[in-house]
Protein backbone atom coordinates (compact mmCIF):
# COMPACT_ATOMS: atom_id res chain seq x y z
CA UNK A 1 0.00 0.00 0.00
CA UNK A 2 2.86 2.37 0.80
CA UNK A 3 4.05 2.34 -2.83
CA UNK A 4 0.50 2.87 -4.08
CA UNK A 5 0.17 5.93 -1.85
CA UNK A 6 3.33 7.38 -3.30
CA UNK A 7 2.14 6.75 -6.83
CA UNK A 8 -1.57 7.52 -6.68
CA UNK A 9 -2.15 9.93 -3.77
CA UNK A 10 -1.33 13.62 -3.69
CA UNK A 11 1.14 14.51 -0.92
CA UNK A 12 -1.52 15.94 1.40
CA UNK A 13 -2.21 13.21 3.93
CA UNK A 14 -3.53 12.84 6.62
CA UNK A 15 -7.01 13.18 5.15
CA UNK A 16 -9.86 15.06 6.85
CA UNK A 17 -12.09 12.04 7.54
CA UNK A 18 -13.02 11.29 11.17
CA UNK A 19 -11.32 8.54 13.20
CA UNK A 20 -12.59 5.16 11.99
CA UNK A 21 -14.47 6.53 8.96
CA UNK A 22 -14.62 3.89 6.22
CA UNK A 23 -13.97 6.36 3.40
CA UNK A 24 -10.20 5.82 3.55
CA UNK A 25 -10.67 2.07 3.10
CA UNK A 26 -13.05 2.41 0.14
CA UNK A 27 -10.72 4.94 -1.48
CA UNK A 28 -7.76 2.58 -1.18
CA UNK A 29 -9.87 -0.19 -2.75
CA UNK A 30 -10.48 2.06 -5.77
CA UNK A 31 -6.75 2.73 -6.04
CA UNK A 32 -5.90 -0.98 -5.75
CA UNK A 33 -8.40 -1.72 -8.54
CA UNK A 34 -6.87 0.96 -10.78
CA UNK A 35 -3.40 -0.41 -10.09
CA UNK A 36 -4.48 -4.02 -10.63
CA UNK A 37 -5.83 -3.10 -14.08
CA UNK A 38 -2.75 -1.03 -14.86
CA UNK A 39 -4.79 1.95 -16.04
CA UNK A 40 -2.79 4.84 -17.46
CA UNK A 41 -2.83 7.52 -14.76
CA UNK A 42 -2.92 10.24 -17.44
CA UNK A 43 -5.92 8.64 -19.12
CA UNK A 44 -7.96 8.19 -15.97
CA UNK A 45 -10.22 10.91 -14.65
CA UNK A 46 -11.94 10.95 -11.27
CA UNK A 47 -15.08 13.02 -10.81
CA UNK A 48 -16.95 13.47 -7.55
CA UNK A 49 -19.85 15.46 -6.15
CA UNK A 50 -19.95 16.98 -2.66
CA UNK A 51 -19.86 15.22 0.70
CA UNK A 52 -17.28 13.56 2.94
CA UNK A 53 -17.04 10.69 0.43
CA UNK A 54 -16.77 13.01 -2.56
CA UNK A 55 -13.78 14.61 -0.85
CA UNK A 56 -11.78 11.54 -1.97
CA UNK A 57 -11.07 13.00 -5.41
CA UNK A 58 -8.97 15.75 -3.81
CA UNK A 59 -6.49 13.21 -2.43
CA UNK A 60 -5.94 11.34 -5.67
CA UNK A 61 -3.23 12.09 -8.17
CA UNK A 62 -5.19 11.99 -11.44
CA UNK A 63 -7.04 14.63 -13.39
CA UNK A 64 -9.90 15.13 -10.95
CA UNK A 65 -13.03 17.25 -10.78
CA UNK A 66 -14.62 17.86 -7.39
CA UNK A 67 -17.87 19.11 -8.89
CA UNK A 68 -21.18 20.28 -7.40
CA UNK A 69 -23.51 18.50 -5.01
CA UNK A 70 -25.37 15.81 -6.97
CA UNK A 71 -23.80 16.77 -10.29
CA UNK A 72 -20.86 14.40 -10.64
CA UNK A 73 -22.63 12.32 -13.28
CA UNK A 74 -23.44 15.12 -15.76
CA UNK A 75 -19.84 16.38 -15.45
CA UNK A 76 -18.50 12.84 -15.95
CA UNK A 77 -20.83 12.33 -18.93
CA UNK A 78 -19.43 15.46 -20.56
CA UNK A 79 -15.84 14.34 -20.03
CA UNK A 80 -16.52 10.85 -21.37
CA UNK A 81 -18.32 12.18 -24.46
CA UNK A 82 -15.53 14.67 -25.16
CA UNK A 83 -12.92 11.88 -25.06
CA UNK A 84 -14.34 8.33 -24.90
CA UNK A 85 -10.77 6.97 -24.60
CA UNK A 86 -10.59 8.18 -20.98
CA UNK A 87 -11.42 5.93 -18.04
CA UNK A 88 -13.92 8.00 -16.09
CA UNK A 89 -14.52 7.01 -12.48
CA UNK A 90 -17.18 8.70 -10.38
CA UNK A 91 -17.09 8.93 -6.58
CA UNK A 92 -20.37 9.82 -4.90
CA UNK A 93 -22.23 9.39 -1.61
CA UNK A 94 -25.71 8.11 -0.79
CA UNK A 95 -26.93 11.69 -0.37
CA UNK A 96 -25.02 13.07 -3.33
CA UNK A 97 -25.92 10.22 -5.68
CA UNK A 98 -29.47 9.28 -4.70
CA UNK A 99 -31.08 12.42 -3.20
CA UNK A 100 -30.04 15.63 -4.97
CA UNK A 101 -28.38 13.60 -7.74
CA UNK A 102 -31.05 10.89 -8.00
CA UNK A 103 -32.46 12.08 -11.29
CA UNK A 104 -29.02 12.22 -12.91
CA UNK A 105 -28.36 8.76 -11.54
CA UNK A 106 -31.33 7.04 -13.21
CA UNK A 107 -30.85 8.79 -16.53
CA UNK A 108 -27.11 8.15 -16.70
CA UNK A 109 -27.80 4.48 -16.00
CA UNK A 110 -30.50 4.50 -18.68
CA UNK A 111 -28.00 5.80 -21.28
CA UNK A 112 -25.56 3.02 -20.45
CA UNK A 113 -22.58 5.33 -20.86
CA UNK A 114 -19.27 3.70 -19.92
CA UNK A 115 -18.70 5.28 -16.51
CA UNK A 116 -17.79 3.49 -13.27
CA UNK A 117 -19.65 4.85 -10.28
CA UNK A 118 -18.54 3.99 -6.76
CA UNK A 119 -21.28 5.05 -4.37
CA UNK A 120 -20.04 5.24 -0.77
CA UNK A 121 -23.10 4.22 1.21
CA UNK A 122 -22.80 5.25 4.86
CA UNK A 123 -26.60 5.63 5.19
CA UNK A 124 -26.40 9.33 6.14
CA UNK A 125 -25.35 12.84 5.13
CA UNK A 126 -22.05 12.90 7.02
CA UNK A 127 -20.62 16.22 5.90
CA UNK A 128 -23.58 18.33 6.95
CA UNK A 129 -24.11 16.71 10.34
CA UNK A 130 -26.19 13.55 10.07
CA UNK A 131 -29.39 14.22 8.11
CA UNK A 132 -31.10 11.12 6.70
CA UNK A 133 -30.72 10.17 3.04
CA UNK A 134 -32.76 7.99 0.65
CA UNK A 135 -30.51 5.10 1.73
CA UNK A 136 -31.08 5.50 5.47
CA UNK A 137 -32.89 2.38 6.73
CA UNK A 138 -36.46 2.88 8.02
CA UNK A 139 -36.69 3.71 11.72
CA UNK A 140 -33.16 5.12 11.97
CA UNK A 141 -32.33 8.21 13.98
CA UNK A 142 -30.98 11.23 12.15
CA UNK A 143 -30.71 14.91 13.03
CA UNK A 144 -33.71 15.42 10.72
CA UNK A 145 -35.55 12.42 12.23
CA UNK A 146 -35.09 12.53 16.02
CA UNK A 147 -37.94 10.00 16.44
CA UNK A 148 -36.75 7.74 13.60
CA UNK A 149 -37.21 7.80 9.84
CA UNK A 150 -40.57 6.81 8.36
CA UNK A 151 -39.48 6.39 4.76
CA UNK A 152 -38.37 3.14 3.17
CA UNK A 153 -34.84 3.18 1.76
CA UNK A 154 -34.00 2.62 -1.87
CA UNK A 155 -32.13 -0.54 -2.74
CA UNK A 156 -29.70 1.38 -4.95
CA UNK A 157 -28.49 -1.78 -6.68
CA UNK A 158 -32.05 -2.73 -7.70
CA UNK A 159 -32.74 0.85 -8.73
CA UNK A 160 -29.61 0.95 -10.90
CA UNK A 161 -30.56 -2.32 -12.57
CA UNK A 162 -34.14 -1.19 -13.22
CA UNK A 163 -32.86 2.11 -14.65
CA UNK A 164 -30.66 0.27 -17.16
CA UNK A 165 -27.21 -0.11 -15.58
CA UNK A 166 -25.41 -3.05 -17.20
CA UNK A 167 -23.06 -3.82 -14.28
CA UNK A 168 -24.20 -3.68 -10.66
CA UNK A 169 -22.19 -4.86 -7.68
CA UNK A 170 -21.96 -4.36 -3.95
CA UNK A 171 -19.04 -4.58 -1.56
CA UNK A 172 -18.19 -3.36 1.92
CA UNK A 173 -15.29 -1.66 3.69
CA UNK A 174 -14.90 -4.84 5.75
CA UNK A 175 -14.58 -7.05 2.63
CA UNK A 176 -11.90 -4.72 1.28
CA UNK A 177 -10.20 -7.24 -1.04
CA UNK A 178 -13.49 -8.27 -2.60
CA UNK A 179 -14.35 -4.59 -3.05
CA UNK A 180 -11.17 -4.20 -5.12
CA UNK A 181 -12.31 -7.08 -7.30
CA UNK A 182 -15.86 -5.80 -7.94
CA UNK A 183 -14.55 -2.29 -8.66
CA UNK A 184 -11.97 -3.67 -11.13
CA UNK A 185 -14.69 -5.67 -12.90
CA UNK A 186 -16.84 -2.53 -13.04
CA UNK A 187 -14.03 -0.50 -14.61
CA UNK A 188 -13.45 -3.26 -17.19
CA UNK A 189 -17.15 -3.47 -18.05
CA UNK A 190 -18.14 -1.59 -21.21
CA UNK A 191 -21.23 0.26 -20.02
CA UNK A 192 -22.66 2.00 -16.96
CA UNK A 193 -21.35 0.35 -13.79
CA UNK A 194 -22.59 0.95 -10.27
CA UNK A 195 -20.66 -0.36 -7.30
CA UNK A 196 -22.34 0.25 -3.94
CA UNK A 197 -19.62 0.36 -1.28
CA UNK A 198 -21.18 -0.11 2.15
CA UNK A 199 -19.08 1.89 4.59
CA UNK A 200 -19.24 3.16 8.15
CA UNK A 201 -19.82 6.69 9.46
CA UNK A 202 -19.21 6.07 13.15
CA UNK A 203 -19.62 9.74 13.98
CA UNK A 204 -23.07 10.57 12.64
CA UNK A 205 -24.87 7.39 11.61
CA UNK A 206 -23.12 5.24 14.21
CA UNK A 207 -23.52 7.49 17.24
CA UNK A 208 -27.14 8.47 16.62
CA UNK A 209 -28.12 4.84 16.08
CA UNK A 210 -25.94 3.27 18.80
CA UNK A 211 -24.04 1.18 16.26
CA UNK A 212 -20.82 1.16 18.27
CA UNK A 213 -17.35 2.23 17.23
CA UNK A 214 -15.69 1.74 13.84
CA UNK A 215 -14.52 -1.80 14.65
CA UNK A 216 -18.04 -2.80 15.74
CA UNK A 217 -19.55 -1.29 12.60
CA UNK A 218 -17.02 -3.22 10.46
CA UNK A 219 -18.01 -6.42 12.27
CA UNK A 220 -21.67 -5.63 11.54
CA UNK A 221 -20.81 -5.44 7.84
CA UNK A 222 -19.02 -8.77 8.16
CA UNK A 223 -21.96 -10.43 9.94
CA UNK A 224 -24.73 -9.13 7.66
CA UNK A 225 -23.17 -9.54 4.24
CA UNK A 226 -23.71 -12.75 2.26
CA UNK A 227 -21.94 -13.43 -1.02
CA UNK A 228 -24.16 -13.85 -4.08
CA UNK A 229 -22.95 -17.46 -4.32
CA UNK A 230 -23.73 -18.31 -0.68
CA UNK A 231 -27.12 -16.56 -0.91
CA UNK A 232 -28.26 -19.02 -3.59
CA UNK A 233 -28.17 -21.81 -1.00
CA UNK A 234 -30.11 -19.89 1.65
CA UNK A 235 -33.88 -19.66 2.20
CA UNK A 236 -35.68 -16.29 2.32
CA UNK A 237 -35.92 -16.70 6.11
CA UNK A 238 -32.18 -17.24 6.38
CA UNK A 239 -31.58 -14.13 4.25
CA UNK A 240 -33.78 -11.96 6.49
CA UNK A 241 -31.78 -8.92 7.64
CA UNK A 242 -28.82 -9.79 5.39
CA UNK A 243 -27.58 -8.09 2.23
CA UNK A 244 -25.85 -9.57 -0.80
CA UNK A 245 -22.32 -8.70 -1.87
CA UNK A 246 -20.56 -9.48 -5.14
CA UNK A 247 -21.63 -8.98 -8.74
CA UNK A 248 -25.42 -8.63 -8.59
CA UNK A 249 -26.16 -8.00 -12.25
CA UNK A 250 -24.33 -7.90 -15.57
CA UNK A 251 -25.85 -7.57 -19.02
CA UNK A 252 -25.06 -6.22 -22.47
CA UNK A 253 -26.59 -3.19 -24.16
CA UNK A 254 -25.32 -0.61 -26.67
CA UNK A 255 -22.87 1.78 -25.03
CA UNK A 256 -23.71 5.47 -25.37
CA UNK A 257 -20.41 6.98 -26.58
CA UNK A 258 -20.19 4.32 -29.31
CA UNK A 259 -23.77 5.03 -30.38
CA UNK A 260 -22.96 8.73 -30.34
CA UNK A 261 -19.95 8.18 -32.60
CA UNK A 262 -22.35 6.47 -34.99
CA UNK A 263 -24.42 9.67 -35.11
CA UNK A 264 -21.28 11.76 -35.73
CA UNK A 265 -20.27 9.44 -38.58
CA UNK A 266 -23.72 9.60 -40.16
CA UNK A 267 -23.92 13.37 -39.84
CA UNK A 268 -20.46 13.80 -41.40
CA UNK A 269 -21.36 11.57 -44.33
CA UNK A 270 -24.55 13.57 -44.89
CA UNK A 271 -22.60 16.82 -44.88
CA UNK A 272 -20.30 15.68 -47.70
Amino acid sequence: MEKLIEKYYRPRLPHIWCPGCGNGIVTSSIIKAIDKLGLDQDKTVIVSGIGCSSRASGYLNFDTVHSLHGRALPVATGIKLADPELNVIVITGDGDGTAIGGNHFIHTARRNINLTVILFNNNIYGMTGGQYSPLTPTDSKATTAPYGTLERAFDIAELAKAAGATYVARGTAFHANMLVDVIAKGISHDGFSLIEAVTQCPIYFGRQNKKGDASTMLKTQRDHAVTVEAAKKLSPEQLEGKFKIGVLHQSEAPEYTKQYQGIIDRAQKGAK
Binding site: Y9, L13, P14, H15, N23, I25, S28, N177, D213, L218
Partner: protein
Protein backbone atom coordinates in the same frame (compact mmCIF):
# COMPACT_ATOMS: atom_id res chain seq x y z
CA UNK B 1 9.48 -8.59 8.71
CA UNK B 2 9.01 -4.94 9.56
CA UNK B 3 6.01 -2.98 10.75
CA UNK B 4 6.10 0.70 9.92
CA UNK B 5 3.70 3.13 11.59
CA UNK B 6 3.07 6.76 10.73
CA UNK B 7 1.99 8.63 13.85
CA UNK B 8 1.06 11.73 11.85
CA UNK B 9 -1.59 9.72 9.97
CA UNK B 10 -2.99 7.77 12.93
CA UNK B 11 -6.24 9.05 14.49
CA UNK B 12 -6.49 6.28 17.07
CA UNK B 13 -9.64 4.58 15.77
CA UNK B 14 -8.35 1.22 17.04
CA UNK B 15 -9.42 -0.79 13.97
CA UNK B 16 -5.95 -2.36 13.53
CA UNK B 17 -5.84 -3.31 17.21
CA UNK B 18 -9.25 -5.01 16.97
CA UNK B 19 -8.53 -6.99 13.82
CA UNK B 20 -4.91 -8.04 14.46
CA UNK B 21 -5.21 -11.77 15.13
CA UNK B 22 -2.03 -11.88 17.22
CA UNK B 23 -2.34 -8.91 19.62
CA UNK B 24 0.72 -7.26 18.13
CA UNK B 25 -0.71 -3.75 18.26
CA UNK B 26 -2.00 -1.30 20.85
CA UNK B 27 -2.70 2.39 21.38
CA UNK B 28 -0.33 4.51 23.48
CA UNK B 29 -1.21 7.08 26.15
CA UNK B 30 -1.92 9.64 23.43
CA UNK B 31 -4.23 7.18 21.66
CA UNK B 32 -1.83 6.57 18.76
CA UNK B 33 -0.75 3.27 17.25
CA UNK B 34 2.05 1.49 19.06
CA UNK B 35 3.69 -1.90 18.53
CA UNK B 36 3.30 -4.09 21.61
CA UNK B 37 5.08 -7.25 20.45
CA UNK B 38 6.44 -7.34 16.92
CA UNK B 39 7.76 -10.90 17.34
CA UNK B 40 4.19 -12.26 17.29
CA UNK B 41 3.40 -10.73 13.88
CA UNK B 42 2.49 -13.23 11.16
CA UNK B 43 2.52 -10.54 8.38
CA UNK B 44 -1.12 -11.20 7.51
CA UNK B 45 -1.47 -7.47 6.68
CA UNK B 46 -4.96 -7.25 8.15
CA UNK B 47 -3.91 -4.01 9.86
CA UNK B 48 -2.58 -2.48 6.66
CA UNK B 49 -5.68 -3.44 4.68
CA UNK B 50 -8.11 -2.10 7.29
CA UNK B 51 -6.39 1.09 8.46
CA UNK B 52 -8.64 3.91 7.18
CA UNK B 53 -5.80 6.39 7.59
CA UNK B 54 -2.83 4.68 5.90
CA UNK B 55 -0.89 4.74 9.16
CA UNK B 56 0.49 1.19 9.25
CA UNK B 57 2.41 -0.83 6.68
CA UNK B 58 3.79 -4.33 7.02
CA UNK B 59 6.60 -5.62 4.89
CA UNK B 60 7.25 -9.32 4.39
CA UNK B 61 10.96 -10.05 4.47
Amino acid sequence: MAIKTIGKHCKGCGVCVTFCPKQVLGLDALGKITIVDESKCITCKQCEMRCPDYAIFVEKK
